[in-house]
Symmetry: D2
Subunit: 442 residues, 4 copies
């Protein structure tokens, strides 16, 4: 990945001058190992590019290192913290809530921890959602629970109202767990907070089951999702092999980026076609998808296809203006579209096939996180607390080059990480599937 001009400086509410209660641990002999304010992680580890830039006198792009600071901005004794989860479900939400609460309570001795219910609705009194008090007892039993104990909702709310609510409740640190839309909202909240001169830290924890947030190497829940998705591929493979010309077609998540589809395909290596939003393909024509699929069936009598939900949107462009009888726009589902096209293709050719279609989306989103994601969430949640206590704001906690880092929300919001068509992940998918370009040569 190449990086342009990105501002990686983190905003703070003011100079940190309250000694961290974690210093007591150091006194007790169990080292707290604080992070210095100028600890940075190099963003681009490509040595050639790095050398060239150094020769051109360009400072290498760096992210601030996450972790506990020796000096805090907030006095823990007075801190009121708030948490909110927004948007679609994703494995790990409860683990982040748990880590934030446990870190605040046990390490910083913060007891005023509040959960806002059902996303941004929770800040708007007219919805009538009660604000819930959180502590070790409320988060102890959620370890094996999928979803989010705070509930969620989609869609924006009035930013002014949100900030007013924060002010009323005296919240100092707000942890916002959500996707790209939530990050944008976080940024606006932080700006409004700043406009009003309030001492409120806004810390984002990016959620994206598609793993497509820009400048975020890995998002929580992704590993779990890939893991569960492989069970669908296993099932599809068994169905495909079970019948003459058996075809297993699995639609996986990935609106704009095919990371889940590509990764899950590599986990079993028995997938024959992977279709993702980033890589164009044709349906018809020689060497197009249907032609290659026919060839595969002729050779091996079965085939497994994984398609990301955002793949092949070009096929719907001509239908842009179609409306159903009620006047609603026709939804474009690449999974059912492919199912129909495949059936039509072989029906025209009088070839009997046995196509099974699997869409595991909601099973994946709602199940509990696996141990790997739990560990990851534990780090994310704790580092979010460290950042908030230090008075950082308008940033999210990310992971880059295996380090947890602070990223300004403005550097990422509205942008997207993509599967690079000439990168290692996609190349390995091509090697594992043996699929060609799927571009019609006709």
């Amino acid at each position: 990945m190449r990086f342009g001009d990105v501002n990686t400086e983190i905003e703070t509410l003011g100079p940190p001058c309250v000694p961290s209660p974690l210093l007591e641990n150091e006194a007790k002999g169990s080292l707290a190992s604080f992070v210095a304010e100028d600890d940075r992680v190099i963003v681009d580890v490509n040595a050639k590019r790095h050398k060239q830039r150094t020769q051109e006198g360009i400072e290498p792009l760096c992210f601030e290192l996450a972790g506990p600071r020796e000096q805090l901005f907030f006095n823990p004794a007075n801190v009121k913290a708030g948490l909110v989860t927004c948007g679609g479900l994703c494995p790990g939400l409860n683990d982040i809530i748990r880590a934030v609460v446990l870190e605040l309570y046990h390490c910083y001795h913060v007891e005023d921890i509040f959960g806002f219910r059902h996303g941004l609705q929770g800040f708007i009194p007219s919805y009538g959602h009660e604000v819930v008090h959180l502590g070790p007892k409320s988060v102890a039993p959620i370890l094996d629970l999928g979803g989010t104990i705070l509930g969620s909702s989609r869609g924006p709310q009035n930013i002014d109202d949100v900030v007013t609510r924060l002010e009323e409740l005296g919240i100092n640190i707000l942890f916002m767990i959500g996707g790209d839309g939530t990050l944008v909202a976080s940024m606006k909240i932080a700006e409004e907070v700043s406009r009003r001169g309030l001492p409120i830290s806004v810390i984002g924890i990016p959620k994206t089951i598609d793993n497509d947030i820009y400048l975020l190497a890995r998002s929580f829940g992704f590993d779990t999702s890939v893991g569960i998705a492989t069970r669908s591929i296993e099932a599809a493979h068994n169905e495909a092999r079970g019948y003459v010309n058996g075809i297993g077609l699995i639609k996986l998540m990935g609106r704009e980026s095919g990371f889940i589809a590509a990764s899950a395909a590599l986990a079993r290596q028995d997938v024959n076609f992977v279709l993702i939003p980033e890589v164009d393909f044709d349906l018809e024509g020689p060497s197009g998808f249907l032609d290659e699929l026919e060839q595969r069936l002729a050779d091996r009598k079965h085939a497994v296809i994984v398609v990301a939900e955002g793949a092949g949107q070009k096929f719907f462009s001509e239908q842009k203006n179609e409306r159903d009888p009620s006047g609603n726009p026709v939804l474009h589902d690449i999974g059912t579209f492919l199912k129909q096209k495949i059936n039509e293709h072989f029906s025209k050719k009088n070839i009997d096939i046995a196509l099974k279609y699997i869409d595991p989306s909601y099973i994946i989103r709602s199940l509990p996180a696996n141990p790997n994601d739990r560990i990851f969430c534990s780090f994310l949640g704790r580092d979010a607390v460290h950042a908030g206590m230090a008075g950082k704001t308008n940033m999210f906690v990310g992971n880059w080059n295996n380090h947890f880092v602070h990223v300004p929300i403005s550097a990422s919001a509205g942008l997207r990480k993509k599967v690079e068509s000439s990168g290692k992940l996609w190349r390995t998918v091509l090697e594992a599937t043996g699929q060609g370009s799927l571009i019609s040569t006709g």
Copy 2:
């Protein structure tokens, strides 16, 4: 369950007069514990009904006990066995194949074991499917594999051709693993075999993921299916609780019987409505399903619904003749139908809901069997071999009152086991869900 006049006598090819090779084990001190030809299992354990019948001089209905016989009909040295798997996939198919092969090979020293590929197609040369030789090496690695290594197919084939093929290949015992249609085919094959006076034993092993074969207490794969289905319910519950007026709607298998839906609902006890083919319900009207669902949301803000695929078919009767633009009959899918009706209902009432629809069907059918089903398949497969070696025919191996038994195919074929609406399973579902009759009182 009440039983009418059922003929439970098992057909045999002739008197068994070949000493079983298992007798050698007895000599070696590890007892083979043979089953006597007149060992029977009482079918109806209801003591009151039993007493009444005894007083009326009616012999109690009994099944022949399965297991090894001291005397065989076939000389193991000359036996050629065939296996075939038919119809839809079901967890445990490979485990049955494995058990049959291991029992034949290791215990009866039969080495000529053949697998017919892709169901009944495998007997018809024009399909071009090779007959595969099976032995311990070919079945050792299939332990963790879902689906069937023999492949399957749907639909009937010419019975005459099948029997001719058996004759050509010199098969003595044919193990047919399949659903109700396959049992009917088995019966016809056995009859044609008998007509031709061939010494071929036809042994069925009933497969039904819906657990709805008559006179079969439990079918293999059912336990695995319920287990996997509960993951979908867990996911749906998390989705439902995640949003205001969240609704999780899961469609589970069950064309004519709701055993999977009812059982899976009991496994987690957080389902609010279970809809099955055996129990009528209304959509509209006071106390109808939609009304009760609305009440549930008003009370608890979320709901989980499990619907068996065969439930509510009455709603489609008026659409019988509908055709889509291409002239094909409109398919009646209760899952998507309910999804639409629920959305319409709340839309009309201006109540925002968040409905998530989950259809895990093909994931369930194709995954490997769990340990419980593996043990069950091991018994089924081995008892099928014992039955075949003893010259039994036109029967299937079943399970009744926790005993493995022989059931004449004619006693069950074409009939179906149902969830009894006044039985313990359904009553417990009603207790666990708290759902009412869902019959409109309007």
Copy 3:
């Protein structure tokens, strides 16, 4: 299994004459399907034995059918219920607690439900364990939790004190979940209750991870245990195959009965030796275990052995009086004993082996129940409530011939179910392992 003179009559506190609140459901159209007081299940389904006894004029042995009664002994409005879990952990404890609480609360509208903490200690004030109030909220989140939320303890307590405590608290129905020792205690409590003329129903729910309670076809947690145990066998098999003369040795639970060992061995069918308490075997001598193991290694280069913890206790008889330096009796662990004997045997013969020893005991006992056991626990818990409300006492809820039944504790306490050495389970183990008698012919 043959049955002697067993008294199967269930004790009651008095005539049931309070209409069940479940009758309301019937009025509402969702049938409650009550069980009649004289509904019975035939115990022995062996038709030959049954016929013979009928001819001799002997009434067939029957169990009372479990389920809801139309008339109750207790007025639900006044019921105070108590629950206690005793002894070692077993998958499903929380599921039973959950089912009992949900049934009492939602179906009988009983709100005074109390949990006694840490087994029988919970009744003895000097231990200082608080009695906890239970309701839907406290049992909702325990669905995926292993262990028991009530805690447990081992060992007896003074029966008089227990009954006095029940009296003080005004408990009417006591649900005791525990093993054989707990059943004996339940019986004594019921007797003391009767002596004092108290209207307290004592209902047992038998717990035995070994599945060895007499007159109980299946105990909860057993299926889960077998399932988890198979993972150890899978691991042992991989270790064994990984090395020249690799040996995987797994010790499984089973103090007096080898059900887990035998069943788990059948689930994977790649075990070569199963050693259980019920079946004698020799270590030394021709055809003894070590000789046969050596033969197996010579033939196949690897071996997998499953031993139940209670197997081979005869080898320790001569060490009965051994004491360790502190004067404690030396504990006899068949697992480590076999490990040592095998290593010695091959060391003496200069044969290199690679033995890996696996003891998964506590992992199995403490993990959550699988869906199958959850459903089973749901029935057990609900039927225990039905029995208690009807005024039954001094009984446990069991499962026989696939029906839930009432069994007098006195009929089972102190007796044990065993793997029959000439029965189907053990025969199938012999077929699957190919192991001989393991009795020295020398």
Copy 4:
């Protein structure tokens, strides 16, 4: 981590001048995205250290990037490849074998692929292990299989004999999958190969379930191990909470590094003490482990302890010379040692405890890899093939800063990665457990 003078230059057999068959893919439109020979990855991403070194004129330490090269050293048409797996089992071995074989066969069209059986023994004819031919058919069914289909063995073999065997068989590329000892052997083989002037590439793929190979950020199987280990912690936690003063003690792998123990503890966050080799602790004395454990029990009535097998070896130094009756040195097992010490401690104080000890070692090592590790193994295996085809030798494929890289074996062999006591992982463990320094202040 700080890095001293490490030579990161990769040895090659000669100039690559054979065009890669992957170029054909590029022609077909599916980009192969070759790695340039001078692509490097910066090792140390600490920006401060990097800046300082740059100012001092020191070139930053870099690893060669792994991946396919446009020009190969070997002509694929003539390549004979060999694979061997050595040492203890680890999840993922079969996945690496599978990836290497599939890449060689499908992408480079190499068909002469040979597996050496049982580690280095496979090269020594006197052991009598046959060399097995590998291809897509042999690796297709091993997807869900733990262990290694090639078998393994421990201990060294004569290097000369190994190289002679390679020469005899005409092997050009040898893939050695094993731990630190195997890497040392690989280095010696590469050196002997070089001495003899043979054109044989030796490529290591480092295996270490402890995740402790120096200069390797992550080793395959580690993620799976942590995942399985968390089940033991879950079980131990349930056991601990089940009893008054319940203690769950789990011994996890980690001879010299506590990565598994530390990571697994973070996955559930309900562990109270983690003991690892890298961090000293005292048993006795105020604030020592036993004292703190007593305090924990007094406060919370239960405790969960995770100990890495290499922790606390200082306690055994005085027993160095102890011998058992047969003259063998007494083995020092920290798990059973702690169990005994804890029991003694509380026994002396007359405090009843209920300690359960869990050692899941062999279950973890032998189970199949999880999806995350499978993807990782897929990359490792394919990159090993790319490196071998390019004529690289005496190197291993590693992972650093999320990139796959080439590391000279000499740079790592004999060194070990450790949990840094002042690093993020250990600090987070201290935060999650709340454990103090466990160093006696007395």
